[in-house]
């Protein structure tokens, strides 16, 4: 899986950091950082939760 974040849409709500703390982090500069852009299948469920709960729809999961 590959995580793609549209940083034009991302507004740092940070709900993804609660759904998948291993993959996302909001740092004190206020910006979102992707900690692992190509997580293994064990993160599928957490990543799906992060994407669906993102208030700006900024997270896309690619299967390549």
């Amino acid at each position: 899986m590959r995580i793609v974040v549209d940083f034009d849409l991302c507004q740092s709500h940070g709900l993804c950091t609660e759904a998948a703390p291993e993959l996302f982090e909001i740092r004190d500069d206020g910006f979102l950082y992707i900690l692992n852009e190509t997580p293994g299948p064990e993160f599928a469920s957490k990543l799906e939760k992060a994407a669906i709960e993102c208030p700006t729809g900024a997270i896309t999961i690619k299967d390549d």
Binding site: Q11, S12, G14, G30
Partner: protein, 400 residues
């Protein structure tokens, strides 16, 4: 169960459909919506769509995700008129009956109208995409704007119109915006923000009537003063959309009454989103939450409840909302009340960058942050854990 009908084609209904499929339901799913649109996202309506920064096409969820995989039968532009519980059927406004085995009620809420509406052009509420596009169409004429009600919709509309260069008067019966929700310390900060951005504030007054010839020309306020306006946007709250359920046998009371699993008093019927009043085990209170994240999570929780019944998890939810006004992003988790103790834990209200904590009966009840997204998340966790107010203020609890 072979057929689930979802009434309400917005966020909660869409997420309910997704959860049904995710949990292996392979029967028929029908979504009924009174708007002509497939589901779209409402938060951009008062901001990007209102000022024309985004085309309407950008707000549809199916522009972002694949709806075909849901396998849903859409019944759009049709209003559910009543519910025949004994026959397990939803009756539409044209008399058609849609029968169901499982039913998800996600009919949302409807904007409250002024007590004294006048049939004048140029007066709007803002709930739907069509509302937003109609208001946007008016902005090109450089209207003088009056916003009635300084709730979040009203404040965002005021901010969007000011950024668009329009003259804006904001009329609110309370003596400060959001006073009844956030209390005086934060309400004053919001008031100052709008004052500094050039909004004319008319606080502590009501709208007595609207006047004009065919089109609105002025508002007459309760103190006898007048506000000249070419465009009026009314944002004075919403009413949960339960009118179609009256007399159905469903328990109602400021929403559809649900247990901790979003189940109503009638087997096979669940509710989610703005319309649902459920027992939230996070705080032990019955509540109705009109925010985006609740629609997402409760839509899914209600669907799982429909499939699993008493084996479904209880739906515990920490309410979350945000609001974008000018350069300020407000984020709030929990349930603030006007009479809570308020401590500015970090930052400075004067610079619109702060974290405020709300305490009630010794517990951390809510966090409100402005332009502090990373710190907000740390306190949001503490709100979820219901730590003591003293520990939260002292920064003692884990994670802060």
């Amino acid at each position: 169960m072979q057929k689930v009908v979802i009434v309400g084609a917005s966020l909660a209904g869409l997420r309910a459909a997704g959860a049904l499929r995710k949990h292996g339901f392979d029967g028929r799913v029908v979504i009924i919506g009174d708007e002509a649109h497939v589901p779209y996202d409402r938060p951009p309506l008062s901001k990007q769509v209102l000022v024309g920064q985004w085309p309407a096409s950008k707000v549809y969820f199916n522009a972002r995700e694949d709806h075909a995989a849901l396998g849903v039968d859409w019944v759009l532009g049709r209003r559910a008129q009543n519910l025949a519980v004994a026959e397990r059927a939803v009756v539409l406004d044209d008399g058609q009956r849609v029968d169901y085995e499982g039913l998800v009620i996600a009919t949302g809420a409807t904007p409250r109208a002024l007590a004294n509406p006048a049939a004048l052009r140029g007066v709007y509420t803002l709930r739907t995409l069509d509302d937003a596009l109609a208001i946007h169409g008016e902005l090109a004429k450089q209207p003088r704007v009056a916003v009635v009600g300084a709730g979040f919709i009203g404040l965002e509309v005021a901010a969007s119109c000011r950024k668009h260069g329009l003259a804006v008067t904001l009329i609110e019966p309370q003596r400060m915006p959001l006073l009844g929700l956030l209390g005086p310390v934060l309400a004053e900060a919001i008031q100052r923000l709008h004052f500094e951005q050039g909004v004319q504030l008319r606080l502590g007054v009501m709208v007595d009537r609207l006047e004009g010839r065919g089109r609105v020309e002025r508002l007459v306020l309760s103190d006898g003063s007048q506000v000249e306006a070419d465009l009026v946007v009314v944002g004075i709250g919403v009413i949960p959309e339960t009118r179609w359920l009256e007399g159905s046998g469903l328990d109602l009371g400021d929403g559809v009454l649900c247990d901790a699993r979003c189940a109503t008093n009638v087997p096979g019927i669940v509710a989610a989103g703005d319309v649902a009043r459920w027992h939230n085990v996070w705080s032990g209170e019955s509540m109705r939450v009109e925010h985006w994240s609740n629609a997402v999570e409760q839509g899914q929780a209600a669907a799982v409840s429909l499939l699993l019944g008493a084996a479904a998890p209880e739906y515990a939810h920490v309410p979350y909302f945000w609001s974008d006004q000018y350069h300020v992003k407000l984020q709030c988790a929990g349930r603030p009340r006007a009479d809570d103790s308020v401590v500015i834990r970090e930052g400075d209200i004067a610079t619109d960058t702060y974290v405020a904590l709300y305490g009630r009966r010794g517990q951390l009840a809510a966090v409100l942050a402005s332009n502090r997204p990373a710190r907000f998340l740390r306190y949001r966790k503490l709100v979820a854990q219901r730590v003591s107010f003293d520990d939260a203020c002292a920064g003692k609890a884990s994670g802060a």
